[in-house]
Symmetry: C2
């Protein structure tokens, strides 16, 4: 985000704050940030503060930063929204905070994972905008316009539900797939050789870090468990159909699953047979 905001002229100076000293050095070397400062000095010198840390740290960091701000807007980019909202519900500077979730990322983390134009064309979500000041909303809108991200709005409760239903379950399905293949397949050379049969794309998310994902799963546990139950149920139905060599049931399952083609509005969807 720092890369793009600088390159696209939205930010003139980027101040970095990180507890990881190696990441601070890398971010400076790579010119992702102009300077590194301690949190209080960084907030004091900023017009806009963006919190991009694991979601269990946002809960503590967000009120701390709101304590420090005067007129500045504070945004987070976390993957869950309810806990952060609760943490600042009664904060006197609540209206300086804009809750956002840009739906874009990779399985990599740290400064060296930065890629330009990562966000372009992806959707960002604003939550509970009625609790944010016009200034905060305008600042956030200008920022995401600059990144070329369409903005949609929902409340933080809805956000966490839909994020679990679509994004969080995808990560669990991928982590469990990696674990399964690693357990069953002793010969890792086979995994590498056979991965291009679809495993590689399905397992991509399993490279994602525990530092980011464990707090998401525990914070959003009720919604995640709800959709995970459905997933396990579907797999058991699939299993029963295979046990019964029931080609008709399998055909129906797959035809039903294929409906995802239309919903994802795949640009290649005219290439189906």
């Amino acid at each position: 985000m720092a890369l793009d905001l600088k390159a696209r002229g939205f930010a003139t100076e980027i101040i970095g704050v990180d507890i990881n000293e190696q990441h601070c050095r890398q971010a400076q070397t790579m010119k992702l940030v102009d300077i590194i400062l301690p949190l209080d000095q960084a907030v004091a010198q900023s017009e806009l503060v963006i919190l991009a840390v694991p979601v269990h740290h946002i809960v503590g960091l967000l009120p701390e930063v709101l304590d420090l701000v005067q007129q500045q807007t504070v945004m987070d980019v976390g993957s869950t929204k309810q806990r952060a909202a609760e943490a600042v519900k009664t904060h006197p500077k609540r209206q300086n905070y804009l809750a956002t979730h840009p739906m874009a990322g990779t399985e990599f983390s740290g400064p060296q994972a930065a890629v330009p134009n990562l966000f372009r064309g992806k959707v960002t979500i604003f939550c509970d905008v009625e609790l944010s000041s016009e200034n905060a909303i305008n600042t956030g809108t200008a920022l995401y316009n600059c990144l070329e991200m369409p903005i949609i709005e929902m409340n933080s409760e809805e956000h966490d539900l839909h994020a679990a239903y679509v994004s969080h379950i995808s990560h669990i399905s991928s982590f469990a797939l990696a674990l399964t293949v690693l357990r069953k397949e002793r010969d890792t050379e086979n995994i590498f050789n056979l991965a291009s049969g679809g495993f590689d794309s399905t397992v991509r998310l399993a490279k994602s870090s525990a530092a980011m994902w464990t707090p998401i799963f525990t914070q959003n546990a009720p919604n995640v468990l709800n959709v995970l139950d459905t997933y396990i149920r579907e797999l058991n139905l699939f299993k029963k159909a295979i046990e019964n060599r029931d080609a008709e049931a399998l055909n129906e399952f797959i035809a039903e699953a294929n409906k995802i083609r239309k919903i994802l509005k795949d640009p290649n969807s005219n290439r189906q047979s």
Copy 2:
């Protein structure tokens, strides 16, 4: 394959055989094939016959084609190998047959799904080569060399086991994910908007056709059920850890799953934090 073999000079003329008349016309219009002929005439005029049909049809088609050949080599490119091997075990022309499985494909099917250079750099598997003639092996080797695919060998039993462990389970995990998200998420606009949070890549394989995959799952049922059991078990362990808000267990699961990074020898693996 027809595209590449023609473009790379391996084949001078490609004869197409298909029961789907629309596909025949499309293949000719797109110049994937030079002419369309009935099976018996096509085999009589060919130096090499490649069977690329769903795996339950290979079982019937392969002995039929071997009945027709003189010196020609017959290859299949199916995703299971044991049933085909059994179907021609005692066939007098068995040695004309080379069992191959190029580990490359997309979620699309039909002539319009053809893409150039699909196979380059991916691995192909030869099965039970001791049952094939030197001529058949040499022909297959030349073909896959032309497609720039490294060749590995295993017997058809091993093939079906490893294919289930790596490729077939990936497809089930993806089909079930699509079904889950479609059931839970009534608002399809949300699916589209949130898909870039990882769902899109994990669900890609769920666009694959029942015509191809149902026969794979039923033919390879014992191996597929075996790995599917492990997958469901891993998901239940993951679920228990979330139920218990057990961050330590989740961290361990994810760290274990992350080991897939090294095995896939991801060219970006130096970008981990």
